[in-house]
């Protein structure tokens, strides 16, 4: 793991889709810093730029302007191959739809990023991660014989396998019932507290956000506010008054 203090940083990030006439501004200049071993929730209404922010941070999408720094290293101008390696080795991804390969067993899915890097997965490490997420006895099951919560646990273990600089989660509990969702959130919390991981999670669920150390609100592609040590009630209250936030900032 990179010893740099900042896991992820974006400076003046903008992203515009389309051409001049019908341009849609998804991100209108965002500056955010995510310190190592922190859990941040990024919230905002639909179209606020949450997903675009995550895509740009992960190197899936190229920002129109601004910089992206992963572990203190500027990756903005890297070509597709380097950015692919970046995703593989230094960024862990957790998606709403789990995104497991349907034909690989749980342990093979966890080892996949290592395989793609051309190395043999370390059996012990894969086993330890599966144990950590509570699936030691499911290592050889295929995804379709696992429940949604179990699949998301496998996905989290996969995201952790390369000890990434930052773990990006896009609505990780969006497809789960509330009890399972709480288990997944507790697991993400555990990754931060006990493994020293950095988690950036996009969500619009106030309960999910309450597991984070801090909530960042995005509105119309801008940072509209922050909340430290959020509670579900406070977040929900804030979400209903986002317009005030924009005026305030």
């Amino acid at each position: 793991m990179n010893p740099h203090e900042t896991a992820l940083e974006v400076q003046g990030l903008t992203r515009t889709y389309g051409t001049d006439g019908a341009a849609v501004v998804a991100l209108a200049g965002i500056d955010l810093t995510f310190a190592r071993s922190t859990f941040t929730a990024v919230m905002g209404p639909s179209g606020s730029g949450k997903s675009t922010f995550l895509s740009c941070a992960a190197g899936l999408d190229r920002p129109t302007s601004g910089r992206v720094l992963v572990g203190g290293e500027d990756v903005t101008d890297w070509d597709e191959d380097r950015r692919t390696r970046l995703r593989r080795e230094r960024i862990g991804f957790v998606f709403q739809g789990f995104h497991l390969m349907p034909y690989l067993s749980a342990s093979q899915n966890v080892g996949l990023p290592t395989r793609l890097a051309g190395k043999r997965p370390d059996r012990k490490r894969v086993g330890a991660l599966l144990e950590r997420v509570g699936l030691a006895d499911r290592a050889h099951h295929l995804p379709d014989s696992l429940s949604g919560g179990q699949q998301q646990r496998v996905a989290i273990a996969r995201a952790l396998v390369t000890q990434p600089d930052v773990l990006l989660a896009d609505e990780p509990t969006g497809a789960l019932d509330s009890a399972t969702a709480r288990q997944i959130l507790a697991l993400l919390r555990d990754c931060v507290d006990n493994l020293g991981q950095t988690v950036v999670m996009v969500t619009h669920d106030p309960v999910a956000a309450s597991y984070a150390d801090e909530v960042v609100y995005l509105v119309d592609g801008r940072v509209a506010g922050r909340m430290v040590h959020p509670t579900a009630d406070a977040v929900a209250a804030q979400m209903t008054h986002l317009d005030d936030l924009v005026v305030a900032s």
Binding site: S55, D61, F93, L112
Partner: protein, 453 residues
């Protein structure tokens, strides 16, 4: 209600030209093939004696095989495109379409494509039928006095047959696509890995058994017949029968056979992914494996037969030319269709897996790795298919070689099987590369709008 489903079918077709193209091509080529040979049969009605007999044989034999192949290819193409839309069908059922309406949507779409394709195919068949006839006459297979007399009647019947076949195929596919409960999420697991039905296993085994029985009859009975072509009439179709039988069993065979090939694909990430995908989702790639087996079996089996025949009967009999031309035409036809189906099936499989391949890329596979994992899958399928196809081909040429006193191994043309094998492997790999290229190109570009999903 009916009108609105037709409208929906029409709009869906306009948005989905790629899937429609596959069905269109299968129906078009099917009509051209069967139609051209049907004109020969019609011409025979205006002729008499040996000429009429020759023309009827051409029309009936080739037309018969053609119909079987068209049935197979149209059914598989329509089936693949319907399965591909499982989640969409689930969606329209969730918002209130009855299974009946969903089936009607699929059937209307297929019908619309098939009618247009059959009409075009019929038009082409009128020209190719005339060409075919002039080839046969200039080859001296019928006397010069015979005049071409094919026309809209025979071509019309051929087009009708193809339309009926595609209607049946689409009904079967539609029924399967709507058999489960309604739901938006395509259950990628259970439905995809579905076991083979007992009747499918029975049909496969029956075809293989029938082919082997014909081979045994060739060695024990027809080999001793006075007519040198009696042995060919019993052994000629054995390779195709066994090949089609194995093709019917393709999902199971691929699951079994992919395991040994795991060692060959090496330790790289692409090979790793490919070997597990072929074994655990054999049902997907079996659509590619089936035509590869049939192509290899038919080509090796029949061409070896022709070479044994010309070697052991250098003078020939009055029937030799006709018989061998027939053999070559059948092989050519089967090969053409099988080749198209390999490409078709790959395009459909890749379209089906597009989201999954994009996912792989997001997890850190380079576009090159995504592409090469698909090509590695093609290599496994090709290798399994060529081995099984070659095995099936022995059902034809081994008994025939024994019948013509060449022994178990024919005396010549031993270069044929490896040459055909190499050609089939090359075709399969090229189809995979062709099918996956647009996806790989798309991945190589930074993502457009759409986010991380």
């Amino acid at each position: 209600m009916t009108g609105s489903i037709t409208g929906l079918a029409w709009r869906s077709l306009r948005r989905r030209p790629a899937a429609a193209t596959a069905t269109f091509l299968a129906v078009l080529l099917g009509t051209v093939l069967i139609g051209s040979f049907a004109t020969l049969t019609e011409t025979s009605f205006a002729t008499s004696g040996d000429d009429a007999g020759t023309l009827v044989i051409f029309g009936a034999v080739v037309g018969g095989w053609g119909a079987a192949i068209v049935l197979f290819s149209v059914a598989s193409t329509v089936g693949i495109t319907a399965t591909q839309r499982a989640s969409e069908i689930g969606l329209i059922r969730t918002i209130g379409a009855t299974p009946r309406q969903a089936r009607r949507l699929i059937n209307r779409e297929v019908a619309a494509i098939a009618v247009v394709a059959a009409a075009f195919g019929g038009g082409i068949a009128l020209v190719t039928g005339r060409l075919l006839f002039s080839v046969i006459r200039s080859g001296g297979l019928v006397s010069d006095s015979v005049e071409y007399d094919g026309g809209p009647a025979s071509v019309g019947v051929a087009a009708l047959v193809v339309l009926v076949v595609s209607a049946i195929a689409s009904r079967v596919a539609a029924r399967r696509a709507t058999s489960g409960p309604a739901g938006v999420l395509a259950r990628s697991g259970a439905s995809e890995r579905g076991r083979m039905r007992w009747w499918r296993v029975a049909i496969g085994l029956a075809l293989v058994g029938y082919g082997i029985a014909m081979a045994v009859i060739t060695v024990t009975v027809t080999a001793h017949d006075d007519d040198p072509y009696a042995a060919m009439s019993t052994s000629g179709s054995s390779s195709i029968l066994v090949g089609v039988g194995l093709a019917v069993l393709a999902p199971v065979l691929l699951r079994w056979c992919a395991a040994p090939f795991r060692l060959l694909t090496g330790r790289g990430a692409s090979g790793h992914l490919a070997s597990y995908n072929t074994a655990r989702r054999a049902h997907l790639l079996s659509g590619v494996l089936a035509p590869v087996i049939v192509l290899t079996a038919a080509a090796i089996g029949t061409l070896m037969l022709v070479s044994i025949d010309t070697r052991t009967l250098p003078e020939g009999t009055p029937d030799s030319d006709t018989i061998n031309l027939l053999n070559n035409v059948v092989v050519g036809m089967i090969s053409l269709f099988a080749a198209i189906m390999v490409i078709n099936a790959f395009v459909a499989v890749i379209a089906h897996r597009r989201a999954e391949l994009e996912r792989l890329h997001r997890l850190g596979a380079t576009p090159g790795q995504v592409g090469s994992s698909v090509v590695a899958e093609a290599a496994i399928v090709a290798a399994v298919g060529v081995v099984l196809g070659a095995l099936a081909s022995t059902a034809s040429f081994v008994p025939f070689a024994i019948a013509r006193d060449e022994g178990v191994v024919p005396d010549g043309a031993l270069w044929l099987p490896p040459t055909i094998a190499v050609a089939v492997v090359a075709l399969t790999l090229a189809s995979a590369r062709f099918a996956v290229r647009p996806t790989v190109r798309g991945l190589a570009r930074p993502m457009a709008a759409g986010g991380v999903r």
